[in-house]
Symmetry: C2
């Protein structure tokens, strides 16, 4: 079970756009150069974040991406859900209700296996929902200073 690489890209771009708020919008070309990422693939991921209302996309030659709301109001869960979809990782297909084992069974209650998998996934979601882009920015303040310094030096 693996997340797509877009999750790392998306989270780092959100943190960077938080730090570069005064310079935004930041072009896709610059964001790609920032992390040495393929521009076309990165663009697809950032468009997904824009569609989810996390980023704001400004069109045109001087356009690019900016945070669509304050970094305190964007959780890691928001970003992961926008990029990986809202589906739970575990899919219950109710095999307990199929085949020779199911004969004479009554299946009113949710399956204990499915319920336990859901509890674990909720614990994971709770952690990610409790941590915002602002928290991540605060955790690495020196990187924020470096980001603003390096951005000012970037060729136009």
């Amino acid at each position: 079970m693996q997340m797509g690489e877009g999750v790392e890209w998306g989270l780092h771009c959100c943190v960077t756009l938080g730090w570069l708020n005064d310079e935004a919008p930041v072009s896709i070309r610059r964001l790609a150069a920032w992390f040495d990422l393929p521009p076309e693939y990165l663009k697809k991921r950032l468009q997904a974040l824009a569609k989810a209302g996390i980023l704001h996309s400004t069109p045109g030659a001087r356009g690019g991406f900016s945070l669509a709301r304050p970094p305190e109001r964007i959780t890691m869960m928001d970003v992961v859900t926008a990029l990986e979809g809202p589906a739970e990782a575990f899919r219950c297909t109710e095999i307990r209700q199929r085949g020779a084992g199911a004969e004479g069974g009554r299946f009113g209650r949710p399956c204990g296996i499915s319920a336990a998998m859901r509890r674990a996934e909720l614990a994971w979601r709770r952690e990610l929902a409790g941590r915002t882009i602002a928290d991540l920015m605060a955790d690495s303040a020196p990187a924020g200073e470096r980001t603003r310094r390096n951005y000012a030096r970037l060729p136009g």
Copy 2:
């Protein structure tokens, strides 16, 4: 991000083998009929559980699978890890150290994004590691009685 269907199959087979402990080993043909699953695909999953020391595989015409240790000592995490591998779902590729943004940076500490993703994954693992096959059996005792009853009726 999706788990393979084998996780649902593997967990249900472990619970069923716990209930059918007195009848084990249970043939792959019977386990497949039990849940109406494709025998060859199911066999691959159960072999992975045997390789991980969760199931015991008995060869021969009267062979099949049984739990390799008491159900109190098999956690849901054991089963998920055996089927999905031990890798974390989030892969940090340290893009923070690449490109124009990284210039002049020092990257001693683990990345805050990676650390937060790991904390969330640990919360998920902790839940699954705290729940055993014996717990799942106890949760649905009526299904255990039905399982033993239906198994006794199964054609040879």
